[in-house]
Amino acid sequence: MSPSDEELARLVAEGDLDAFGQLYDRYSQRLHSWSIHVVGTDRAEDVIQELFLRLWASAGQFDPGRGSFAAWFMAITRHHLIGELRKRSLRERVRVATEIEAVLSRAVAGEPDPAEYAVTRESGEELAGALRNLPKEQREALVLAYFVGLSQSAIARELGIPLGTVKKRVRLGMQKLKTRLAGRGDPKTGQETRA
């Protein structure tokens, strides 16, 4: 049985390179797929390298009592990438969101999977499917908020719609993802309810 991310993080904090390699294999692809839209091909690998060096240096600060390793590491990643985006114009940030939204609206990539990407795909496919089934406007709101760092107010201004509508899209989108991932709801629900 594979060790959990949290167990690997504990080992990394003790200087275990093997554990670090396993976390790299689990997370590098998701960092890449995100950062390449934010900073471009040339700088994406630099960003990934920097984030993993940060992980190596600060793994001891991860506290499993406060959440999962994924939540912790993705928060670090998001902070870094949103920082990059804050240097850009709003138009550029929206372009990034449009690209990511387009990726999420497509079918899951069907190319053969190198072994190192297997974990990423396993953990991401279900959510990717759930996101694909969301109405576009809900998926768009989630992407603008999470990947680009726009507040709900900023999203409302950008889209020219009432703040209440944005809040509803965010709320419904996240609730549907939660329901879908928990396996409790009708998968089609996400395709029928629109804000």
Binding site: G21, Y24, H32, A130, A145, F147, L181
Partner: protein, 253 residues
Amino acid sequence: MECAEVIDQLEGYALGALDRDEATALARHLAGCESCRRELRRYEEIAAALPAAVASASQLRLHPSLRNRVLLGLSRGRNPASSWPQYLWRSVAVAALVLLAGSLVWGWQLKAQLVHEQQVNAEMMGKLTRYQLTVFEVVDSPVTVKRGLRSTVDPSSNAPYGKVFSRTDQNDVVAMVNRLPQPPAAEVYQLWLTSDGQTTLAGPLEVDKDGFAYLVYRDSRRGPTYQQAIVTLQPLGGATPSTNVVLIWQGSR
């Protein structure tokens, strides 16, 4: 603030999408409400999984060689287990560079490679270390200057690329290139550096089977600055670069 007011904002909070005033008020409530914290954590886990969904749906794949370079970076004193003895660090450094230069097939051979490198005798270490530690010192320092080499013909995300590193306080220059196809017979990739209007051959780049190569060049000046760096394809040596420029960087530094 009551739970009923909070509950509809947890999704936005988990996405980092609340305005500052809303987020502050919500955080105050969360500090004293275990059930809302529990609910928030569910949404935070969903938010944290969103990048995995993008990775799953994306066609863009990370180049395997980065794994080596990340490990290379680790060997520059950033290990949380700082009590490791120096000789072990040197072994890690050598292992990472050997892999960087010669093999992009990392897999789970890392541990075995490290163990092997730890057994390298002192003579071998002496031969390897001077050159390879130069690479470390140049590519990873607070005063490193990086210059990105871009393909002159291929704009795609899988295009060849490279970097030229130097330091503001040293003479050594390190160049790394990646994804280059094997050169035709009788030709090699060469790095040329232009400074003060004069173009100098820094050396050949011998790509491995994965298209990766690096070289170390010693400039006569400390903290060299360049106006241009190019990688050409041409017969070995020569006094001037050929017109077959594969990668280029232009700048003012």
